[in-house]
């Protein structure tokens, strides 16, 4: 019973969730965390964190503060703080952020730029 009190929601403070069967073709912008389990094509611009879960597929340019990728991303990522490529993720595109973490098992193809000035 105690386990039910802490529900499966893995991200605290994530108000926006794009579910696994959702396909968005266009632009997403906002000031809050965004969790993507579905597909997004176009552009994503956030002032907070973007979480691409393992079922998430993104074909978009991303501009956020933090990015955490467990799924697939095709497009350029520009983060003002941190980009984290988890194990089993697939990322194709250029990454620009002051801090970039690539875990063992991650598949990545593209350029990395950690120049702090260019991050913003």
């Amino acid at each position: 019973m105690a386990a039910i009190d802490k529900p499966p929601a893995p991200r605290t403070g994530a108000h926006t969730v794009i579910g696994s069967s959702i396909v968005i073709d266009g632009e997403i912008s906002g000031d809050e965390d965004l969790v993507i389990l579905g597909t997004v094509k176009g552009r994503i611009g956030l002032k907070e964190s973007l979480f691409v879960e393992s079922s998430g597929v993104i074909e978009a340019d991303i501009e956020t503060a933090n990015v955490e990728v467990s799924g697939q991303v095709t497009g350029n990522i520009s983060a003002s703080e941190k980009v984290e490529l988890k194990a089993d993720c697939k990322v194709t595109g250029d990454i620009r952020a002051p801090r970039i973490l690539i875990a063992d098992g991650a598949i990545f193809k593209g350029n990395v730029d950690m120049d702090v000035k260019g991050a913003k």
């Binding site: 929601a9 108000h15 926006t16 579910g19 959702i22 396909v23 968005i24 073709d25 997403i28």
Partner: protein
């Protein structure tokens, strides 16, 4: 919030501009512009704004919707809901307090030719004689009394206790 899978939430500060397709419920607390196509339910919460062509199974509007909504089952506009656009759905529910401007199409429905004329005839037959008999008896009587008092107010002699106008005029005469 509890179920991560099978429910999509667009948060308050989020703006989506483009096409949105899916096979699950969608809750909008932010803004969505473009088109929304779902095989399940779209819920527009009080903070939500949808400016889009919407095609869904069910639609619950508690926020603002500008655009045409086509639902295969139902559209409901709650008391906080505001909508401008056309609705096409077999079931349309508009609650007291909701604001809506647009057309509604609930599709084709059968009209039974035998029943309708009977109902209208019987409904017309009942109230009509009642109205004609009631109207002449009470209505002209007070009007005539009032007219008489207005034309000749000075003589205070005729005692009319029932009418308020008569009582007032009596007081005025005594003061003079």
């Amino acid at each position: 919030m509890a179920t991560m899978d099978g429910s999509t939430i667009i948060g308050e500060s989020i703006l989506i501009n483009g096409n949105l397709n899916g096979d699950e419920d969608l809750t909008v607390r932010g803004r969505v512009e473009g088109t929304v196509t779902l095989t399940k339910t779209l819920v527009v919460e009080p903070t939500g704004v949808v400016k889009a062509e919407v095609q869904v199974k069910n639609c619950v509007i508690a926020g603002a919707v500008v655009g045409n909504v086509t639902a295969s089952e139902s559209v409901e506009i709650t008391k906080e809901g505001r909508m401008i656009g056309d609705i096409s759905a077999p079931r349309v529910i508009i609650v007291d307090g909701a604001s809506f401007r647009g057309r509604i199409d609930m599709g084709e429905f059968e009209v039974r030719e035998g029943e309708r004329p009977e109902r209208t005839l019987s409904a017309r037959a009942a109230p009509r004689p009642a109205l004609t008999t009631r109207r002449p008896s009470p209505a002209p009587a007070p009007k005539a009394e009032a007219a008489e008092k207005a034309s000749a107010p000075r003589p205070p002699e005729p005692p009319v206790p029932a009418a308020l106008g008569g009582a007032k005029k009596k007081v005025i005469v005594r003061r003079k």
